[in-house]
Every structure is written in C-alpha cells, then in structure tokens.
Amino acid sequence: MIEVRNLKKTFVNGEIETPVLKGIDLKVADGEFIAIMGRSGAGKSTLLYQMSLLDEPTAGEILVDERYAHSMSESEKVQFRLSEFGYVFQDYALLPELTALENVALPLLMKGLGKMLSYHQARAALEKVGVGHRPNNLPSQLSGGEQQRVSIARAIAHNPKILFADEPTANLDNESSHAVLEIFRELHRKGQTIIMVTHEEEFATEAGKIVRIDDGRIVSVEADR
C-alpha cells in the first residue's frame, strides 16, 4: 500500500547540510500496525512526515497506492491527505476555537459531506474513542487524554486508509497512554493500517512490526510479533 525507496532527507541551513534520512527502504502493507522507534534525532518523525506527504524528501521515492508522491501537485497532496490519511500528533493539534465535535467534523465537511452527515459521523467517531459525552467542549475544557482521543476521532472519522501517529502518548499520563493504545489496538483489529512513531518500548510492542532507525537508516525490522 505504501512503499518508500531509498528515501533521503537533508536539511539545509545556509551552508550547513544535515542529512537526517540516509536511504530508507520500507514497505507497509494494508492492515499493518507499524511502530517506528529510535533515539531522539534518529529521524523517525522525519520519516513519518515524508511518508504522510507532509514534507518533501530530498531524494528517493514514495509510492502510495502505486502512485508516486513526487508526481502529485500540492493540491493533490492536500486532497490525498484529506481523504486517504489520518493524523494524530503528539500535542493533539486540535483547533482551540472549535468544539470537540467541530474539530472532528471539519475534515468531513471539507470532503464535501453535508453538515448533518458530517456531524453524525463525527459523533460516532467520538463515541468510538470514548469521548462521545463531551462533544460541545472546547479543547481547553478537556484533559490531555481526552484531547488526544478527540484528535484520534478526527483522524479516523473519515475512514482513512492509513493512520499516522507521531508520539501519540508522549504528553499523556500512563493511564491515558494505555487508553490511547487500546484504541489503536482496537482500530488495528478491525483492519486499520497504522504507522506510529514512538520512543516507548512498552507501547511499541502493541504493533505488529517494529522498525528501528538510527542515524537516518533502518537498523532492524522486527516483524510478526
């Protein structure tokens, strides 16, 4: 479903070039739950951003559903992110002036769904992650764990093909982290493809495959766990 070939990413700041990804090859099949691990600065988040079309690689290829990412225009990528991908960020990334329900409904509205249907789907997604009882709360009125659940609801409400999660438990307490992981586990059980970046071994074990990165290269892949 998604494949990266010899992926490289180098950051340039003036005359200083910092290679972060130095040739990554990776295949993710439909329905897989992959955890990308590595120490801080290893390049795991950068890899996630390239795969999720949020950033442009310096070299290499990304194929999503047999389409080359480099052949897509910016607006095509936006459309692709909207309809095919879902995102969960470390800091929840909810819009502060939108209620939980509105945050979840927004991508659905952008897809062209009617207001009634969007809100209906958004409500169902909130129920699914256990925050269906607080649809009208603003993010500031929710705990960190609840905000992350809303963020997950937003990511899955439109049934994306791939769910990208960047350190989804890093800002949460142990109880909330387990709750989030439980949601991921349940989603995966129902066939959701998940690519998650984490530095916590305990949570990585939930994934079916662990990809370890160090110094911009994949150093190990632990599959069929």
């Binding site: 949020l54 459309q79 991908f85 960020f89 819009l95 002036e97 509105e102 927004l106 952008m110 603003l138």
Partner: protein
C-alpha cells in the same frame, strides 16, 4: 470546489469570531468605526461648512429661483406680468418682489459739527412686502433687536447687522458702518436726490452678506422714495413647492419668455463661481483626508490579521496538514475582515444618520461665515462603505495569504 472553500472558510471564520476575545474584537471594530467616521464626517463637515452657507443664501436671499435685473437694465421690465406668470405656476408656493436701490445711510447728523467725520454707510435699501418676504425667506426670525417691518410701517427701516459698527467684529478697511445706531435711532436715507429721515425699527443678524449688508423698508413707501410707480421691481425670489426641482420652475419661466426681460436662475445658478470652486476644493480635501484614513485602517487590519495569522501559524499548518484547502483558510480571514468592516460601518452609519446628522441640523457649527452642518449624502456614504470593506478585505487577505503559503510542516513544527 470554490463554493466548498467558501463554506469551510465561513465555518472557520464564524467560530474564530465567536470565540475570539471580546476586547480584541471590540477594539478592531472601534478602529473601523473611527475610520468610517473619518471617511464620512471629515469631508462631510468640510463640505457642510460651505453647504451651510449655500443653504443660508437659498433660504434667506435667493429662495429656490431668483429672477433679477438684466445687466444692461436698471430694473426688471414688465415686472407685474412676470410676477403674474410666476404666481400662476402650479409648482410655486410663494414669491416676494423686491425693489433695490443703492443708497447712503447717515446717522448722527443731528449733533455733527461741520468738522466731524460724517457717520455714514453705503447700502442697498430694499423695498419689500414684509409679509410676502417673511413667507418666502423667513428673515423676520433673524431679528436680534427691535422688530421686523409690518405692512403699514411708514418711515421705518430695518438694518442688516454689518451696517452697524457694533456688529462688525473687525475693522474692515473700505467698509463704512454706522456708529452709535440702535433700535429707535433716527437716520437719513439718501437715494439719488431724495433724502428721507426714518427710524430704525429692528436689526437683522445674518451670515448671508445680501441680508447683513442691506437695509429694508416697506415697498409702498420705498416706491415713492425712488419714484417708481410702474410696478417694476429689481428682484423676485420664488419659493417652489416641497419636492419640486427648482430647475423645472426656472425652465417654465424661460419657456414663457421671462428670460428676455430678466435673468432667471435657480439658487445653484446664482451661486458665485468662487463658491462652487471652494466646494470642489473642500470635496478634494475631504477625499484626501479620507484616503489617509483608509490607508491607516487598511494598515491596522493588515497588522491585526497578520499578527493573528502569525500567532495561529501552527494551527494553520495543522489545518493544511489534515487536508483543509489553503484557499478555505484564506477565505476564513477574508470573512473575518468583512465582519470587522461591516460591523464597523454599520455602527458608523447608525452614529452618522442616527445621531450626528440630526445633531448638526439642530445645532449647526457656528463658523464665522456659515452655520456648518454635516453633509453625508447616502450614495456617497455607501460608496465609502464599499471602499472601506474592499480595502479591508485586501488588507485581511494579503497577510493571511503570506502565512498560509508557508510550508505546512514548518508551520506545524514552528520552524522558520
């Protein structure tokens, strides 16, 4: 796709505004109201200063249509016929016919020694029917001392305030005024070879020179002083019915051949060119001040939206990241700008038409040469509202566009 972007833009804008700080929103709207007032009121007062003078001349002197002596004649020939024609027009509410003759007024002659400087003033003395004159121009209301003329008055005169020394605020070279004259004073009126002693019955105060520099007597007596018994007059001021265009009455008179024997002008035609030039100049000045105000408002909105978009750059990045079209985000800022401009203009409109215009009509600004009002024609005001909204939209769009075009991931991660 575009309507969808508008829909999403509106969705985001409404929520951003609804949950924005009341203080911030209030401050921005306050700036917009001030800008609107700057756009409308500054030029409105400048033009109103002149408009007050124009209105006063129209009300107190020319009325709506003025028929006057041809430049090569000493009076309007065939006046009774012209008066009859004018009075018969259905759109004419009333008219007043005036005799006018250059005269010399003399005071203090009773006690003056041969070596003393004569106490004299030159003025046009106007013979009027007091009732008709007051019905058309209402100048009886301008009396500040004594009384206005009554139809049976004999040897009575009413003086304009600029003929009296005590009402001239400054010493004007070349303008002789009567000293030590008030209501009840006896003065002499010299018209040609005729001299008549009359009593000052009242004093008129007006900012219209044609009133303030004139003296008024009852026409029946004045006719005998100037020796004109054929009924020919020098001016006829015609008041038209409410809602009638004075040009229609002027044209009706010209159509009936009045133009061959007199000059027929509307109050606008009769305005001196200098007056029209000053109005045009003030309009230009008003436009200049307004333009500066518009630029200041645009910059204010630019800064507000820029700071807003900059502080929300991370969220803009997230929106783009989750697939919200950049155009929809831009439109949300445009909607916010429109909201500020429209609410600011609406409050401004309510202030101008609900308070300022009626206030200045009731309490004109006391300028030395006119009673200034606030001139704010609706079509010009709405044109300015349009200008304000347009410039605000542009000023709101540009900073939003600048922030939104930045790299999505850099925005999310707060990288420069």
């Amino acid at each position: 796709m575009f309507p969808l972007n508008i829909r999403i833009g509106f969705f985001l804008a409404v929520r951003a505004l609804r949950r924005a700080s009341l203080w911030t929103t209030g401050l921005i709207i306050f700036v917009m109201v001030l800008t609107f007032l700057n756009l409308v009121v500054i030029s409105g007062i400048l033009v109103g200063l002149l408009q007050g003078a124009v209105d006063a001349v129209r009300t107190e002197y020319t009325s709506d249509v003025i028929v006057s002596t041809l430049s090569d004649k000493s009076y309007i020939e065939n006046s009774p016929n012209i008066i009859a024609i004018a009075a018969s027009l259905p759109d004419v509410e009333g008219l007043t016919a005036r005799y006018a003759e250059a005269s010399r007024l003399e005071a203090g002659y009773q006690t003056r020694k041969a070596s003393d400087k004569p106490n004299i003033a030159n003025a046009y003395v106007i013979g009027i029917d007091p009732r008709e004159e007051d019905a058309v121009t209402g100048i009886a209301a301008d009396i500040i001392e004594g009384e206005f003329l009554a139809p049976g008055d004999y040897d009575k005169i009413v003086l304009g305030n600029y003929l009296l020394d005590q009402y001239i605020p400054i010493d004007t070279p070349g303008l002789a005024t009567l000293d030590n004259v008030g209501v009840g004073s006896k003065i002499r009126v010299h018209v040609g070879d005729v001299t008549r002693e009359v009593t000052v019955k009242g004093i008129l105060k007006s900012k219209v020179d044609e009133i303030a520099l004139r003296a008024f007597m009852v026409d029946s007596q004045f006719r005998s002083i100037i020796g004109r018994n054929d009924g020919n007059v020098d001016e006829i001021a015609i008041k038209v019915e409410e809602g009638v265009d004075p040009r229609d009455v002027r044209d009706a008179l010209l159509l009936r051949g009045v133009g061959e024997e007199a000059k027929v002008q509307t109050f606008e035609d009769a305005q001196p060119q200098a007056f029209k030039d000053i109005i045009a100049t003030f309009n230009m000045l008003g436009a200049m001040f307004s333009s500066i105000g518009l630029v200041v408002a645009s910059i204010t909105i630019f800064i507000v939206i820029f700071v807003n978009a900059l502080t929300r750059r991370k969220f803009i990045g997230i929106l783009k990241g989750i697939g919200i079209n950049g155009r929809a985000i831009e439109i949300s800022y445009v909607f916010q700008s429109i909201f500020y401009a429209v609410i600011g203009s609406a409050v401004g409109l309510a202030l101008v038409y609900g308070f300022l215009v009626p206030y200045f009509v009731a309490n004109p600004i006391d300028f030395p040469f006119s009673d200034g009002i606030l001139v704010a024609p609706l079509e010009q005001t709405f044109f300015r509202v349009g200008l304000l909204v347009t410039s605000t939209i542009i000023a709101g769009y540009i900073p939003a566009w600048m922030i939104i075009r930045k790299n999505t991931l850099d925005s999310i991660l707060g990288r420069n």
